[in-house]
């Protein structure tokens, strides 16, 4: 029985769920162009019934991109998502160390372009007030901010945000929606950091599929504040999807996590971009 045979797939993978992935990248994929890479990514996602993906950052990994590098990365993502507008949703990658350039990028690609969210990585800790204009403009544009968060036992990068940093930013911007990418990695601590912040959503990507993660997120935040993401292609769609489909939760809760919560966040902006949801 080959792995693409219907029998094995039916045995292992439930079919009653539509799945959206909040966290994917072009970096690390084969392909010379952004379009080729996204095509590969979507093909890989489809093997596990993932139909829509959010994608951000360019073909290279850059912790602290210059304005030119930021522009290049965003242009690559824009080219890719314009090729697959119904399946892939672009988030603009910003660097708060270059605030003016970041705001320009946000206007160019979100307000006046096809992108539908903001991605912040590890250039600067997000508790810094330098991020306030970004959070405010994201709110004005009606888009969510997806912020990388980790608490590493081995020590964070200098500009790497913890969930506590994100909680600090989210408290200052209660009307802006934030997705806590990775839920802090050390998720038992991370989830507690934003329990009382209804504008922060826990995202499940980018860590080992340790059992209990999704159940605790639902217990602490409620099913409406938990979102599936994979961090593919660096992470496996398989391992990350197992966090939800393997969790001891009912199907309605899994539906919220796998699609509805993200869809509800993105639907208004997607409609303005002509995407059918």
């Amino acid at each position: 029985m080959a792995t693409d045979s219907p029998d094995l797939k039916q045995r292992l993978l439930p079919t009653q769920f539509e799945i959206w992935d909040a966290h994917t990248h072009l970096g690390g994929l084969p392909g010379k162009t952004p379009e080729e890479r996204l095509e590969r990514l979507l093909e890989g996602a489809s093997r596990l019934n993932i139909t829509r993906v959010c994608v951000f950052m360019g073909m290279r990994w850059q912790y602290d991109p210059t304005p030119e590098e930021m522009q290049e990365a965003n242009q690559e993502v824009r080219r890719a998502v314009e090729r697959f507008p119904q399946q892939a949703f672009g988030f603009v990658y910003l660097n708060p160390n270059y605030l003016d350039a970041s705001l320009d990028e946000l206007r160019r690609h979100v307000k006046d372009g096809p992108m539908v969210g903001v991605k912040l990585w590890v250039a600067r800790r997000c508790c810094d007030s330098a991020l306030d204009p970004i959070a405010a403009l994201a709110h004005d544009c009606g888009v969510v901010v997806l912020q990388h968060t980790w608490i590493k036992t081995t020590g964070n990068l200098p500009g790497e945000s913890t969930p506590q940093d994100l909680a600090c930013l989210a408290r200052r911007h209660p009307d802006t929606a934030f997705i806590a990418a990775h839920s802090g990695g050390n998720w038992e601590i991370g989830l507690q950091a934003f329990r009382d912040l209804p504008n922060v959503y826990a995202e499940l990507s980018g860590s080992d599929p340790t059992a209990g993660f999704t159940e605790m997120a639902v217990r602490l935040l409620g099913a409406h504040r938990v979102i599936f993401g994979s961090d593919a292609p660096g992470r496996s769609f398989a391992t990350q999807l197992g966090k939800v489909l393997g969790a001891s939760l009912d199907d309605d809760t899994k539906r919220l996590i796998l699609r509805s919560n993200l869809k509800n966040l993105l639907e208004p902006i997607l409609k303005t971009k002509g995407v059918q949801v």
Partner: protein, 305 residues
Amino acid sequence: MVTRRRFLGSISAGYILATQGLESLATSTVSGWRAGPSYQLIDTHVYLFHWPFRRVPNDEPAQLVDRLKRHGVTAAWAGSLEALLHKDVASVNGRLWDECRKVGHGFLVPCGTVNPTLPDWTEEFRRCVDDLQMPILRLYPGYHGYGLDLPEVGRLFSLAAERCIGIQIVIEMEDIRTQNPLLAVKPVDISPLSHWLNQFSGLRVMLLNCHRTVPSQPLEKLIATGRVYADLGMLEGMASLERLVTAIPNVRICFGSFSPVFYFESAAFKLLESQLDDRITESICFQHAQEFLGVARLGRTEESQ
């Protein structure tokens, strides 16, 4: 009441299930695989009892067995999570053996442990092999605080080779970035392993959770010996299984879910994420495991004769 003798009989039946390919692989197993009802999935990496740092869903042995069976697992090789930190290894192995008897009759294969840094570890080896009839031992060098270059490891491997015992080595249990800072355990360095493989021709090793930290080149060299296997634990990246079997065509990968510490589905879905042909899928799901365990059974049979 299940007596020890009856349990050993049932374990043998379980082993026969897990190793039935030795006699009939070419016919019933492969055709059964296609037909569905004889679907086989040997999970080479599960645990009983509690992960020391959190309670995880389905961490009661009966729940685990039920869940594995519902997912179509036909045999599971179980270690004890108590083995990580307990110093009374004999009682750890005893409880593992008892629990496998109680809840996993003919299904769970107990994989006891030996800590070669402890006094009288050879007696524990003898007890596992002779009294408890364990065909596999699972080692935790990271948690037991030794390197594979320790001379006692060589002695242990020598005994394992002599008695046809399969050795599983746990390379890591948890991402170092998420460990409790008071108990940070580094991944095991496997570089001394090739020396021992050269020295003991009967030694067979399965690496568990090796893919995050063992680079592909050393892994490829070990695989080339024909006596090193690996489970698919901590294998990450899109279509990672497909890429691994393409990069190392002879890699002996076995299905291992690392349940209940990891979600079972995370391992199972890897089979779907990669495009693998029949032969490779079957080898991952059961043939490599049968091969690993089968050599032990044959060796033990010859020994007893």
